[in-house]
Symmetry: C2
Subunit: 323 residues, 2 copies
Amino acid sequence: MTDIAMIRAAAGRLAGHARVTPLLHAPLLDAVAGRRIFVKAECLQLTGSFKFRGGWSAISAMEPALREKGVMAYSSGNHAQGVALAAARHGIPAVILMPSDAPQVKIANTRAYGAEVILYDRNHEDRDTLGARLTAERGLTLVKPFDDPQVIAGQGTVGLELAEQARSFDIEQADVIVCCGGGGLSSGISLSLEAETPSFTVRTAEPEGFDDMARSLRTGRIERNPASSGSICDAILTPAPGSLTFPIVSRLCGPGLTATDDEALHAMALAFTHLRIVLEPGGAIALAAALFRDDLSDTVICTASGGNVDPATFRMALDRYGG
Amino acid sequence: MTDIAMIRAAAGRLAGHARVTPLLHAPLLDAVAGRRIFVKAECLQLTGSFKFRGGWSAISAMEPALREKGVMAYSSGNHAQGVALAAARHGIPAVILMPSDAPQVKIANTRAYGAEVILYDRNHEDRDTLGARLTAERGLTLVKPFDDPQVIAGQGTVGLELAEQARSFDIEQADVIVCCGGGGLSSGISLSLEAETPSFTVRTAEPEGFDDMARSLRTGRIERNPASSGSICDAILTPAPGSLTFPIVSRLCGPGLTATDDEALHAMALAFTHLRIVLEPGGAIALAAALFRDDLSDTVICTASGGNVDPATFRMALDRYGG
């Protein structure tokens, strides 16, 4: 199980390989929000999301003889790209199973990072069966997107940086809002802040209608989303909290927050204008909650977890809220 | 005259007030460019451009009794916002003279940073006469946009950071391309790199048709632009190199580069996709030169000097080159 020592060890392995992302703020954004907002800009991480940290952490922690046989991941998005680049930089093969209807640009990018992409028909082929055959045949190791102790440890390094940066701004009390899919980033950051800045409260943020973590936090057991699509926040539409992540989030986080797709677009436009960063909808959901929810502390730190957005979606944000 | 000691002193005064901006890179951008590209992301600086550094440097260096009377600047853009916020954070008045036809958002932002904005009719009023009367009546000190030793020193702090960050990437040889208007940033960075990384070559980048610095470097004397408008790179359309900046640039920089407005839009779209940062056209001209000019070293470091772009212009970049 992930603990702070594992996160610190992961930080050591990531040093010089992942980017220390800046904690941004802007006086005019604070004026819009009516509170002080800081943004941990993981959209500036290599591959455009925090997922590179978890991929690197997991691969760098593997036993070398096993590692050199290669890794596999299932993903149509950010995890695919994070694992692909982390594997390439370790000089090992990566096989990424992607649905054949995934966006062409994501398939192309994953290949460009050096991975072998295997497409499958999600209506007629079973991903898990296909994946199990590949791992067995080739000796590949599966890197899960969130429910893996070393992946959680990698994502937790965001929290170590955030705590240090918060100290440099003399922030003593804050709500820390984290974009939440399966809970890898939320659980990792929670563990880091428990050790580093116990006065901070971590809050998860999810798209309205896909609030499996918020509902699970209310009932105390893992709840599932009724649907698997129907929000533009594609990066964080996981079916349910993970069996490793949920106990951590449940122990350490406050009540879950939600925001609408439209609020995510609004947050993207405000981040464009005031922070000059590019966010994808799922990566903007924490900022949306910070801007549009009440009952938050005067200082809020949000993760901006990813920036891999297609131009059409970004144009939608500018058209509606770019002024 | 600005020297490396003044730049180091300015860095000391800026510490904890200006942001240390990241040096970004992306494997897929390198693949597009065919060379290794690093981007010093000053669009992430407070107020969205490096101009905050020069404003802070000049104001913080003033004699306190004079400073408390306040400062004045002429600008319709980034310098206005940089001086306005630097003055507000020093608790002193700032008066910004802006043409009445400046974009409303820039007027609103400058006011939001706490400055008194005085609008003038650029067809019927003489800005210099108006400014001279205001400085005399109120005891204000003019903060020039580039031709001032402490402003150059402030912009030079970009170079100190860039040199240290380049060392962390083990970059031993590089062309450093700088977005160039009046030459404040180019001269400041040149002085820093002369001291810190003399193996680097600084190159200025300007919009095609507004290449006053490139032509001045060729002839050895200050040449003027034939027009004052006609490019979307509004932030860097100054009439001519400064009398303080040109001797420094002339002594330390290689031949000037240019790029077209369309190449700047293309660079903005690539920065959106691969770096997830928002650039304005003038802030993307160095990246455009790095991407589309030949005869550059295998490793190029570009300044991305600003990100204050209106949504319509950004949409134009995405429409043409967002894929």
